[in-house]
Amino acid sequence: MGMEGRFHSVKLLEEKCKGCTNCIKRCPTEAIRVREGKAVINAARCIDCGECVRTCENHAKTIIANSIDDLKNYDYTIALPAPALYSQLGRASGPDEVVWALQEIGFDAVCDVSFGADIVTECTRRHLISHPKPRPVISAACPAVVRLIQVRYPNLISHVARVESPMYAAARVARVEAAEKLGIAGDRIGVFFISPCAAKVTAVIAPLGSEFSYVDGAISISDIYGELMTELGRGRSARPMHRGSNLGFAWANSSGELKALGLHNVLAVDGIHNVLGLLEEVDNGRLAGVDYIEALACPAGCVGGPATVENPFVARARMIEISKAVEADSAEALSEARRLVDERGTDFFALQGELTALSGLEIDPRLEVAIAKMSELERVLARLPGLDCGACGSPTCRAHAEDVVCGNASEVDCVFKLREAMEEVAEELLRLAKTDLPSLQRRNDK
């Protein structure tokens, strides 16, 4: 598999990068190095969690996504707003005003991803009944978490729920309905996800399991925030094709999916480093008795995504208000979701294709070479200061030792090793300077 060619939405803006070491220290897969004064992302390791986008104070990391201009390639366009979008636009704008604003900036229709979340909740309940093993099942809703499992925890791939994410569930429903209603070919309909994060943009362009993406493009919330705010506040409103229940909207906050499922023996984790710690526990078989895990890469959940604008905790509070505001119509949304799952079957909303282990962490494909390199790595590491300062451009001393044995760095890239080497050279110079020349030597008087 051509890992180097794997698509990533997270990209570096070279002119803004100062070559500091903030991003390399936060990357959960140690995918970034600073080389020649700029951050370099290793495509084989990157999971598009967007942690570096969030961390970079110079805004040198960006999310490459579609723009409103791309809508003109289709006869009919549908926006699929992530529930998190509604948490971003201030207290004055209700859900129907946001739908109107989306139509004003260019979309023909809107289908709420919160409705897709209701469908996925229903499918997940049925999946848990029909798949008693293995436990715990891990939610497939966050693509950064699924990629983290593919790269770092291949043993847990079988634990990932075989259910599509809410975005795909909404896309499938919206595309089929629009094609039937308007009598136009499915491929003339452009379905665009309005994304709170980089991972979902990548999932649209390079889907997790399947070859074919049911979503045609993804637009970052932060990219259209300004345009939407201009259209809001005019008191105009419109209805979406489908609107989710209060529980569907709650998915945008961490623990929301669990709230919607309403099951026992479940747990929720958010923030990619917390997810890493928890997956380690699952991988070691220490979570016996837990049936289901909701794991979201972003702190506070999707409302804290790297493509959002609002403070995540303000957004979280706003999300709770929105959930309350749509509560009245929720029973109807939930029964419609159930009806669709009955009609189409859970297979229609099942994860397409196989999830495979992704290589990226191995130090060499040949075992005997890998063993030799690992032995050397431990020897190099023992010589390094163990301060994990990052000044060499690698996130930790261990990562630096790995880079040294893989030929991607030199031991004296470490400032402490460099100082030692300079001291040795200086001592040698001093010794030489003190050496007597034969012509200047005085005879010793005995």
Binding site: P154, N155, N284, E362, I371, M374
Partner: protein, 166 residues
């Protein structure tokens, strides 16, 4: 995070355990050691996690990594709960992954009893923490292709588990 390297007696015995299995050719061999302290529950599991990471980086098959990680974890917990402290040694060559857990005491009076599923000498407070179910050694054996225990009361215990690389 590389701990250890200076626990004399236990290391010597582990070294002896290794030397018998040394490969005849000058094949590459990786050896690492990890110190494990008695009742250090805060650090418990770190050696197993580190071993898992190393095996993953070596490109070992996920299933083999899982078995080795379980064996290493059980060995580590045994040292934390039952021993006066000891070492875990990891040795990898192109044929197998070997784990050696050795401690300086107290040693087991009856090894066959210790191997019986459900048998444990763990005190109540350890059982309340969810450990001491008497599955540690049987679990380790189940994950290994070859498995042996040497123990002497007053001297210590050495558990050796090897997993073949298919």
């Amino acid at each position: 995070m590389y701990r250890g390297g200076n626990d004399g007696q236990a290391i010597d015995r582990a070294g002896a355990a290794f030397s018998g299995a040394a490969s005849p050719h000058s094949e590459p061999v990786l050896e690492m050691s990890f110190r494990v302290d008695r009742y250090d529950f805060a650090a418990a599991g770190e050696a197993a996690s580190k071993i898992k990471q190393v095996l993953r980086q070596l490109g070992m098959a996920p299933e083999l990594v899982r078995r080795a990680a379980v064996a290493a974890y059980e060995a580590e917990m045994n040292l934390v709960i039952h021993s006066e402290g000891g070492q875990i040694l990891l040795r990898v060559d192109t044929e197998k992954v070997t784990l050696v857990a050795c401690d300086g005491g107290p040693g087991m009076p009856d090894v066959s009893l210790a191997m019986r599923e459900g048998y444990s000498t763990a005190p109540d407070e350890i059982r309340e923490m969810g450990f001491g179910a008497g599955m540690g050694l049987p679990n380790m054996k189940r994950c290994s292709d070859s498995f042996s225990i040497e123990s002497e009361v007053g001297r210590g215990t050495t558990v050796t588990a090897a997993i073949r690389i298919a």
